[in-house]
């Protein structure tokens, strides 16, 4: 029986800026839990007893968040060269077959359990994907991996690698050999093993989700909160309407006249209302304040955000700790987005706002604009361009 899992949580996730300026990609929240916690929970639920968590970029945020989890050993990868290189850091802790997972992809526990119980010594978890070209594409022959190609130009297979494997401990020797030749990623290591004649079995994942760009945060949160059930731990004043599945955390208060239509998740210690409207699919983090007459639709509001009165927010992501004054309005619509030199056109998108911004009253933002971390925007401004982090709009 396999007892140990290695989870890679060291990577920065540049395409998820501005959010990853202060936290690694694994800490991006989905329904108020960082992605890595989904992975850890699935792994323990599947019967694994010990996790070796490879941390690196902004590791303190990960360790601080997971402070109450048991049976996790932290190992630091100082330079993030690649997945195989990261795995080498776990070598001292492993002398039996094990599984390895990426800490930045949501995975369900049943799939992990099937991987653990698979008979083959080498297994790879794969997933059908509508856009395989961005991933390692897996070509199959009798359910075994025939070949795996990173971001191929021509696509003949719909399956991609999820980066989840089962390996025997001898893998470390192979990786060591290859890293000395400058090969640092697991896909190449696996391809090398296959070319040496080793058979790699495949298992298809049930639920596997990746967040690549900031707007994926909206989509993945929306998907994940469809599963939630209603639960009210906070206090709800009279004349509040709750429809559909709404979850409200401890010590949160919803004030009179508010209207919340699920699926909606509200974290702990929030203050919402009076007369606030929240529509599907919205996730609100911990310790958030939303003042009266504001409306929020299909958005992700991270922890400690403060929203003034009469705000209108839709199809948007607002980063942790941002303070937004009254009469804020995000215009949602068709927009061309740019991240790290890549472009994407979206049909209906609001704004992507980084952590700890200060936005004064009566600010309006045009569709698809990305505002960096710690920006401050003066009253009555209309934002028509992306704003890099730590800028002042005066």
């Amino acid at each position: 029986m396999i007892k140990k899992a290695v989870i890679l949580a060291a990577g920065e996730g540049k395409r998820l800026k501005p959010y990853t300026e202060t936290m690694p990609k694994v800490m991006i929240p989905v329904a108020n839990k960082p992605i890595v916690e989904y992975v850890i929970d699935s792994v323990f639920k599947s019967g694994i007893e010990e996790i070796i968590l490879i941390v690196g970029y902004r590791k303190e945020t990960v360790m601080e968040y997971l402070r109450e989890k048991e049976n996790i050993t932290y190992v630091t990868q100082d330079k993030q060269l690649g997945t195989a290189h990261a795995l080498l850091y776990a070598r001292d802790y492993i002398d039996e077959p094990f599984i390895i997972l990426a800490g930045d992809n949501i995975i369900d526990d049943k799939s992990v359990s099937r991987l653990i119980h698979s008979e083959s010594k080498f297994s790879l978890m794969i997933k059908e994907h509508p856009l395989p070209s961005k991933y390692g594409v897996v070509f199959l022959k009798d359910n075994k991996v025939e070949r795996i190609v990173e971001k191929p130009l021509e696509i003949e297979s719909k399956f991609i690698s999820t980066g989840i494997y089962k390996f025997p401990p001898m893998i470390f020797d192979e990786i060591e050999k290859l890293t000395s030749h400058g090969i640092y990623d697991l896909t190449s290591v696996l391809q090398k093993l296959i070319s040496q004649g080793i058979e790699v079995d495949t298992i298809v994942a049930e639920r596997w989700m990746d967040i690549v760009y900031p707007w994926d945060i909206l989509y993945v949160n929306g998907e994940m909160i469809h599963d939630i059930s209603s639960s009210i731990s906070g206090s709800i004043e009279k004349n509040v309407t709750l429809k559909g599945n709404v979850s409200i955390g401890r010590d949160s208060r919803v004030y009179a006249g508010s209207y919340i239509q699920g699926p909606v998740v509200i974290g702990e210690g929030c203050e919402i209302g009076p007369n606030v409207c929240i529509y599907p699919s919205t996730v609100i983090g911990d310790n958030v304040v939303v003042n009266s007459f504001s409306e929020i639709r299909n958005s992700v509001i991270m922890d400690e955000v403060h929203i003034g009165s009469n705000a209108s927010i839709s199809n948007s992501v607002i980063g942790k700790g941002s303070i937004i004054n009254s009469h804020f309005s995000i215009i949602s619509g068709k927009a061309k987005m740019e991240v790290e030199g890549e472009f994407k056109e979206l049909e209906n998108i609001g704004a992507i706002i980084g952590e700890d911004c200060d936005i004064s009253s009566h600010v309006a933002i045009e569709p698809g604009r990305i505002i960096g971390r710690r920006c401050s925007i003066d009253s009555f401004k209309r934002v028509i361009k992306d704003i890099p982090s730590e800028m002042k709009v005066m």
């Binding site: 202060t22 700890d356 710690r374």
Partner: protein
Amino acid sequence: MCGIFGYTGFRNARNVILDCLKKLDYRGYDSAGIGVINKDELKIFKEIGELGLLEKKLPPIDVNIGIGHTRWATHGEVSIKNAHPQVSCNGDIAVVHNGIIENFKKLKEELEEKGHRFISQTDTEVIVHLIEESYKDSLKDAVFSMIKKIKGSYALAVLSTSEPDIIVGARQESPLVVGIGDNENFLTSDITALLKYTNRVIYLEDGEICVLSKNSVDIFNWNGKKIEKEIHIVDWNVEAAEKGGFPHFMLKEIYEQPHSLHQTLRGRISEIERSISFEDKVESLLDSYPKVVSIVACGTSFYAGMIGKYMIEQLSGIPTFLELASEYRYFGVRDKTSLVVAITQSGETADTLGALREAKNSGCNTMVITNVIGSTATRIADAFILTRSGPEIGVAATKTFTSQIVVLFLLALKLSRKTINPDELSRYLSHLRELPRNVRMVLERSEEILKVAEKIKDSKSVFFIGRGVNYPLSLEGALKLKEISYIHAEGFPAGELKHGPFALLTEKTPVIAIVTMDKTYDKMIANIGEVKARHSPVIAIANEKDSEIEKYADYVIRFPSDSNILSCIPIAVILQLLAYHTANLRGCEIDKPRNLAKSVTVE
């Protein structure tokens, strides 16, 4: 100050005791020992130095009952003889003890006359000989007879080969907690040591005795009457007492502050209702508007109190006196119209408890700010406010200090109903809400602070200066630096520098100046100028919005804040990181500084 532990049950007692002593060694770590009963024979193992050395020395033995001790020397030097357990002449009885027996000299003489041979210089040894002297057929009765003769403070665990299935514990002014398991029971100085095994505990009161066996716990009061006690469920998690990947508890606890500050505020403030609320007992104490507030505390809690004094006086105008607990209990003026606020992280600090009892006996209203529910202080005071910081293991207080300040600020706001209007209150509440965020921004600058630590790490002496709340912060900054990095450091009110300390300034004495943009800003700049004129390097801790400071200081560390009072929280975190990085660069034992212990339960 020591840690004691007792175990009886189905597990290997040697292993359980060693495991739990590791969690208690913050209470003392100059020597350690364990005593177990193996085949009706008492076996004692002791070693000086850290616990690991004892562990190496211990043979694997299969035992199910035993007691353990980790020592912080008070009476008698650090030696194997003085380490606990202390044993009776016949070698049948063993005792571990935390506290001080005040009349031990007299008792020792009497016992020696009766023929008892003393081996150690400890006060503890009289306990075991007294038990031996009065032992007839019941260990419990012998312990009762012993505690009637001794004066002082104690938490102790006793083991005897005559009754090899029980451990007897007793408590007077030193913490002692019984842990209840299934087919096993525990006795400990601190709950964190047993969280791995159970979360069900009974807090012993002064004068009570407990008798533990594998499957029973009996508690007796001072008169020997058996009593029923409430079993408390502790909701702290085990992992909360583990390092979780961080190299030191101190760093882990520094990083926990955005979370612990949220916990301190949670449910107590409402921005939309514009209100602050505490538990009913606290509310009713504050309703009877005090004429005077006296704050009593020791160490870092004292500096938090000093900041509290500025806050209460500035916001409410109520005169606030600040007293060191060890002085107040003997010399303080106890006015019945005053509200006495004691601050103690552990709720067990002996001097603070003494002061609290004195105040209560004099008819004052008393309140305590503490981190530990069920601690002695919470049971003495009329009302208590929990800081809710979670367990703090690092000897240098960090997250509990910032939470204490926040609680004091809430108190100050509560006492200011007549002096501040709702709009001002609303502004203060939003500043409070921003605190976790401000702290997070400081943590993101840890690398920059590390660079400044490189500049001061080889200094012989470092000065900290500030005005207003930044004066007690200077004292705290200096305390943090000296306690973990062993660099001599002092804090001064910036205006006092020229009245003496100036004489000590050289070009090798870094001066750390805390500068906020309040009415003393120009004065601070002038003070920095005076320091620069003596060629001392100046490190300024300044607001992000301060665009002038670079002209005057050699290095600048920035903090975000819109409040000139609550800026003390992000600044405190900068000072903690500065001390931490400096100590780390110097290779110091950060979580266990020499000669210091976490909660000081001796006077």
